[in-house]
């Protein structure tokens, strides 16, 4: 029998309905099947039952056994792997950034020392310009106490 045969048997119609995609079962029935259904109450009822069956299957819900919760929770890793990976990536990135910063800083300092532009200062004066206290001041024969040498340097800062 041709699929386009307008006079389909009940068996063929029900077979078509049972095999139909749910979308087609709901709304996209072929014209010849639709014509059969409009004239055949048992087949129309059959289609209704299939639709009810579909609705029932769509809403089916069986409660999970109570032991599933503790079992699953115990089976979880201590920390999400994705989080651990993310943390590793972040820490690695931070370490690289710090290393780059340190290398750049060292290079800059080296350049400053070589060019003299980065001479360290004390009280606004280059350290090299400050005359260290004479070592003679520490001579056992000297009358000047070492503390006085240091305090004289502090006095220069204050001034």
């Amino acid at each position: 029998m041709s699929l386009n045969d307008p006079k389909l048997s009940c068996e063929i119609v029900r077979g078509k309905l049972a095999e139909a995609d749910l979308v087609n079962l709901k709304s996209g029935i072929e014209p010849n099947v639709r014509a059969h259904l409009s004239a055949c109450d048992p087949c129309a009822a059959y289609r209704e039952e299939l639709l009810k069956l579909s609705a029932g299957l769509g809403g089916i819900s069986i409660p999970a056994p109570s032991e599933l919760y503790p079992q699953t929770i115990q089976a979880l890793p201590t920390r999400p792997a994705a989080l651990t990976v993310r943390m590793i990536v972040l820490l690695t990135a931070l370490a690289i950034a710090l290393s780059v910063f340190a290398v750049q800083y060292m290079a800059q300092r080296q350049q400053e020392i070589e060019t003299g532009s980065g001479t360290r200062t004390l009280c606004g004066e280059p350290i090299s310009a400050i005359t260290p206290p004479s070592t003679e001041a520490y001579s056992p024969t000297s009358q000047q106490e070492p503390e006085q040498s240091i305090s004289s340097l502090s006095d220069r800062c204050r001034s």
Binding site: C10, A18, E19, D21, I62, A64, P65, E67, L68, P80
Partner: protein, 206 residues
């Protein structure tokens, strides 16, 4: 609560989990991602029944279904970094559970050395549905009866029916998953539906 009246760690967790139930999936995932374990447990509570139902319907027995659910949520926990959105979580869980359950079926099938194509296309006569429609509807509203009927189907038919009706997969998609022609999927769907209809109808009419 434990028998001696002390509140167990699990009970405390369940309280925390219940407190998070008002949050959407996306926010729970975000919190779980930042290390809040109770947020993930809340997700588990929210979706466990749906995933268990799906796993049971495909795998065919409670023991395998429990394994599938456990595996599904452990995989989801490991994949927290890539889970997205409110709809994405459930979709991921369903897809993972389906795949895990398929693996269970395949493993079982290879154990039994039963081929996918071994079920003959037996043409069953069609019962007249004109009687007992109300009882049929009552039976349909009972998930346990329906699940029992589903589990009575051969694996191949049940798998197609579940994918189509519980997962919303189209016939062509199921054919791709199974690697069989769409005609085979339609045939299994037809036989599966018809068996279910007969079973639910006759049980309701008793």
């Amino acid at each position: 609560m434990e028998p001696d009246g002390h509140v167990s760690v699990l009970d405390m967790r369940e309280d925390q989990t219940a407190a998070l139930q008002h949050l959407g999936d996306a926010e729970l995932v975000e919190r779980a991602r930042s290390g809040e374990r109770a947020a993930f447990e809340s997700l588990f509570h929210r979706h466990q029944d749906r995933i268990y139902t799906l796993a049971l319907a495909i795998a065919g027995n409670p023991s395998d279904a429990k394994d599938v659910v456990q595996e599904t949520f452990v995989r989801a926990y490991k994949k927290l970094g890539s889970l997205r959105g409110d709809r994405g979580v459930l979709a991921y869980l369903r897809r993972t559970a389906t795949n895990a359950a398929i693996d269970v079926i395949r493993a079982r099938r290879s154990d039994r050395e039963v081929s996918l194509e071994s079920f003959a296309d037996g043409g069953e006569s069609i019962a007249d549905p004109a009687n007992g429609a109300d009882r049929f509807v009552e039976a349909m509203s009972d998930s346990n009866s329906l699940m029992e009927a589903l589990l009575s189907l051969p694996d191949d038919q049940r798998f197609v029916v579940v994918l189509h009706h519980l997962e919303g997969a189209r016939v062509s998609e199921i054919a791709k998953i199974l690697g069989v022609p769409t005609g085979t999927v339609k045939s299994r769907l037809g036989r599966g539906r018809e068996s279910l209809r007969r079973r639910m109808f006759s049980e309701g009419a008793e």
